[in-house]
């Protein structure tokens, strides 16, 4: 019986040994083994065998790492590139589809990445950004919640004195309308801050000239931005010059020029006035009067919790007495009735993306959108990559021969994989170049769409360039991996014999990829339809008054004493049906005050606007009870009109003897309720109509809110507004020396929907992109399958199939796939869109028809895409395909 050497070690040897030497050495080993085994026994022979094998494990004997010496590296790569390019050129249609699809996908993804990167970059330029927090307010009163980005003046000092963890604090107020004059230049500045003197030391807004420490010290000092300086002073040096501020033309000295605040800062300004200038603003000590913005810098971000606790203590200590004074409730009573009021801290870096309080400085982004867009970008790119994979594998039969030949002359599978990967890299890089070109073309439109002002040069930064290159590499790898592995798995013998299965019809992977693509497309189409519908609904919703034909003119204050004369003259022209002066118009009636139902302890927060007698007829609100203010009743100066929501909230039951008390004035003011106006939307449609009040803008009512000296509403006669506006401008210039600024009320209201409009446009664009790419892929696939099934179709035709029958046959398969995609996408899309719609108090519904419409739309598009191919194939002369048989 022949003994056999230990199998394990034999296998080990066979594995590591150079194949040149393997057999001979193995033979020697076995020969010796047998001799030893005879002479000294199996155990001895085994042991010595093992030793020999182990000792043979040395450099001369082991397989070289590179089995085949790569002496031809460079040449091979050149060959791959050459073949790759030839393939691209030979099949221009497929290559074109692939390239275009990939390029579009990449362009979309890159743009979204730019957008996301920009959104994430807000406020990061501030030194110590992670230690800066904003103090904001929130609370609950009489059942309604409120929040505000603003805080009150005494907080900053209180924190600095009592909380050691707070290193620095700064406050500033924001004047949205501040006329400024220098020599003959006069503008209304919309972004004027009035700030504590340490503003430029706290924040990183560098000064081009002027001393950051002293520029804001003292009264009547202002620092202006570079662009503001250009506007007023041209090329002159503004430092030291006097600019006239406000209605009363206060002389203010320019003490510094600041660089324009960067775009990605949530704090924007054109001018910063020194805090001491406005005594009341920053110096008042009312804790409950939230009118300014407070920011604090802590020793370390971890102190936030401790600081919040101390802030709560301070709030309680100081608010208590104030609450008693204003509302007449003690702190305990206040809390017991379910109310609350607190100040809280927001990290600076969270403000832009996560903060959505009342009174934000500048419109914020929304971190949800970032996720959504990121997801969409990923989807679009994946659709493009899937296309690439599908098309490449579908066309595998054409490359099969090449693979077979290469393998038989000695190519290793790994080399072939490298070849195909490098081909897809070529595609990827060409697509990247195309994508960059597309981005360049589309950039301005992108900026408008995204509401941003990015520059193309952002792309030229090294970080961006590196990531684009990495991106291209990654896409090439991912998209090319599957085809590379699939194509190189062919056995040469099968290929050369012609037995490569045309198993393309039923490739389940490919089919599921198509389903996935269409799933995404259908969802996006559905989303786009829903957003559009909601938008249309909001735009056409009856707001409770006639918003057409109303012009809003600003700078009412500049009429000074000419108000009456102005109104009079306007009334003499038939174009101007009615004119009214007011403190605020929809959609921006945001001032609010505390009011109490007369004779009770019931307090409610009401939004408030001050108006004149003509307001009702100008705006065409409808009264549902009582009457509006009228010059016939002099007592109307202490009258108040509520909307239905307020009336219900305060639980009035009749106008007789109904009174409302307002506490803003030094002495509580008693107002007689004379009428109730039907609810109208004076704010965004995201909320239901809040309770509001209207008073005449006279005398002591000024304590409640601004005077009715803010905006002019003019109802125009229907017809072409252009000539009427010209006339209006002429009249305006007679009575006012300020610029004539106007807008249309219905456009202002529409502007409120800006974010929804933007969303609608974006989703629409993405939906189109997705479907275009998916259809591209379908086109390529259909084209190819049409060719492959050529023989089958010809035979069918010969056997008597008619053209329609053939077409239906070809369409059937794809239709099934799309139906499956629809079945999956419809519930998913419906669910997601319902969630989105829930964010609106006033919303449309998603009907079954809508969903079906979305599905049919994509089905039809897909069918249209493949119909050309199907018809072409169906009409082909069968002879062409069967000639070779």
């Amino acid at each position: 019986m022949k003994n056999l050497p230990p199998k394990l070690f034999q296998r080990f040897f066979r594995w590591y040994c150079n194949s040149r030497l393997r057999d001979h050495i193995e033979g020697d080993l076995i020969e010796i083994y047998n001799e030893r085994s005879k002479a000294h026994g199996k155990q001895n022979a085994d042991r010595k065998f093992v030793i020999d094998v182990l000792l043979l494990f040395r450099p001369g004997i082991i397989k070289p790492v590179n089995k085949y010496r790569n002496s031809n590296q460079g040449d091979m790569v050149a060959n791959y590139l050459k073949v790759g390019f030839r393939n691209i050129l030979k099949y221009k249609v497929y290559s074109g589809i692939n390239l275009f699809g990939l390029a579009v996908g990449m362009a979309a993804s890159l743009l979204i990445i730019l957008y996301i990167a920009d959104e994430l970059s807000y406020d990061r330029f501030q030194k110590d950004a992670d230690r800066i927090f904003r103090v904001a307010s929130a609370g609950r009163f009489q059942g309604s919640e409120f929040n505000d980005a603003a805080s009150s003046s005494p907080i900053a000092e209180a924190l600095m004195e009592n909380v050691p963890e707070v290193e620095q604090a700064v406050r500033f107020g924001w004047w949205r309308v501040m006329p400024m004059r220098y020599a003959d230049k006069s503008f209304v500045e919309k972004k004027t801050l009035v700030a504590d003197s340490n503003f430029f030391r706290f924040f990183s807004f560098p000064l081009i000239s002027g001393d950051p420490v002293t520029a804001l010290q003292g009264m009547n000092k202002v620092v202006i931005t570079e662009s503001a300086a250009k506007r007023y002073f041209g090329g002159e040096n503004p430092i030291g010059k006097i600019i006239l501020r406000g209605e009363y033309k206060a002389a203010t000295e320019i003490t510094g020029i600041a660089k324009d605040p960067p775009r990605n800062s949530h704090i924007q300004f054109d001018m910063v006035v020194s805090g001491e200038t406005s005594g009341d603003y920053l110096q008042n000590d009312q804790w409950s009067y939230t009118s300014i913005y407070t920011y604090v810098k802590m020793n370390s971000a971890a102190d936030a919790l401790a600081v919040k606790h101390k802030l709560d203590e301070l709030t309680e200590k100081n608010m208590g007495p104030e609450l008693e004074e204003i509302i007449g409730m003690s702190q305990q009573e206040f809390k017991a009735s379910g109310n609350s009021f607190e100040f809280f801290l927001q990290p600076l870096l969270d403000i832009h993306l996560k903060s959505d309080l009342g009174g934000e400085l500048t419109p914020n982004g929304n971190i949800q959108y970032l996720f959504i867009f990121g997801a969409i970008a990923a989807f679009i790119l994946s659709i493009a990559c899937i296309n690439f994979m599908n098309l490449s594998t579908a066309r595998s039969a054409t490359r099969a021969k090449e693979v077979g030949v290469r393998k038989s002359i000695g190519a290793m599978r790994s080399k072939l994989i490298v070849q195909f990967l490098s081909e897809s890299m070529i595609y990827s890089f060409i697509s990247t170049v195309l994508a960059l070109a597309i981005i360049g073309l589309v950039f301005p439109a992108f900026n408008t769409l995204a509401g941003k002002d990015l520059e193309l040069t952002l792309l030229a930064q090294p970080v961006v360039i590196i990531s684009i290159v990495g991106f291209a590499l990654a896409t090439g790898l991912i998209a090319g991996s599957y085809p590379a592995f699939y194509l190189t798995a062919f056995k040469p013998i099968h290929v050369l014999k012609g037995k490569v299965a045309v198993g393309l019809k039923n490739s389940s992977l490919r089919n599921s990829l198509v389903v996935f693509q269409f799933m995404i497309s259908i969802s996006l189409i559905l989303g786009s339809m829903v957003v559009y519908k909601q938008l249309k609904y909001m735009q056409s919703k009856d707001m409770g008054f006639d918003k057409e034909n109303i012009i809003v003119v600003n700078n009412l204050w500049s009429l000074d004493n000419n108000e009456a004369a102005f109104k009079n003259e306007l009334s003499r022209h038939r174009e101007f049906v009615k004119t009214s002066f007011t403190s605020a118009l929809p959609p921006r009636i945001t001032d609010s005050n505390l009011f109490r139902k007369g004779g009770t302890e019931k307090d409610v927060v009401l939004n408030i606007a001050t108006v004149d007698y003509e307001h009702l007829s100008t705006m065409q609100y409808t009264m549902s009870a009582g009457r509006f203010f009228s010059p016939e009743f002099p007592s109307d100066s202490t009258a108040i009109v509520l909307n239905e929501a307020a009336y219900k909230r305060m639980a009035f039951d009749g106008l007789d003897g109904a009174t409302v008390v307002n506490f803003n004035a030094p002495k509580p003011k008693l107002l007689k309720l004379i009428g109730v106006v039907k609810d109208f939307n004076f704010e965004s449609l995201r909320t239901t109509v809040k309770p509001m009040a209207i008073v005449l803008g006279v005398g002591s009512n000024v304590w409640m809110v601004r005077e009715a000296k803010n905006e002019i509403a003019i109802r125009m006669a229907p017809g072409d507004p252009a000539s009427a506006i010209e006339k209006l401008e002429g009249i305006w210039k007679k009575y006012s020396s300020s610029a004539f600024e106007f807008s249309f009320l219905d456009q202002n209201i529409e502007a409120m929907f800006r974010s929804e409009q933007r969303m609608s446009r974006i989703v629409f664009i993405f939906a189109s992109l997705a479907i275009v790419i998916a259809c591209l892929g379908l086109f390529g696939l259909a084209n190819y399958l049409g060719e492959q099934r050529g023989k089958e179709i010809s035979i069918r035709k010969v056997l008597g199939a008619s053209v329609p029958q053939v077409v239906i046959l070809l369409l059937k398969d794809f239709t099934l796939l799309i139906v499956i995609a629809f079945v999956i996408a419809a519930p998913l899309g419906w669910y997601l869109m319902s969630e989105w719609l829930d964010g609106f108090a006033y919303r449309t519904s998603i009907s079954v028809w809508l969903v079906l419409a979305a599905g049919s739309a994509s089905l039809l598009t897909a069918l249209f895409t493949i119909s050309y191919q199907s018809l072409r194939v169906a009409h082909e002369n069968p002879v062409n395909n069967l000639k070779g048989e």
Binding site: L21, D23, H24, I25, E26, G27, D28, L29, I30, E31, I32, N34, I51, D52, L55, L56, F57, R58, P59, G60, I61
Partner: protein, 113 residues
Amino acid sequence: MRKYQLGEFEEIVILTIGVLYKDAYGVSIKKEIESRLARNVSMGALHTALVRLEDKGYIKSFDGEATEERAGRPKKYFQITALGKKAMAYSKETRDELWSAIPKIVLEVKGLA
């Protein structure tokens, strides 16, 4: 004059191949060296030397028959090439020269000179 790289063990191996003439293959070389020189020769060392000698061109190989003792693996026979002979000769000459250059007195040990 060319330099012929020939290590000590390699020299022994190539000499043994010469001794065995047409019968030099792995196992036989190993046995011959072991019996003549009374030293153990591991397969690893031997085959490495053989590979090196072949790479240098001093020996060449030709296949022999497969036998049952070798479980069907063929033998590989070696023989010395012309280059190999030159290398051996060079080595022998240089050794001899050195030997003759040694003064008699150093070598007064039994068995030498």
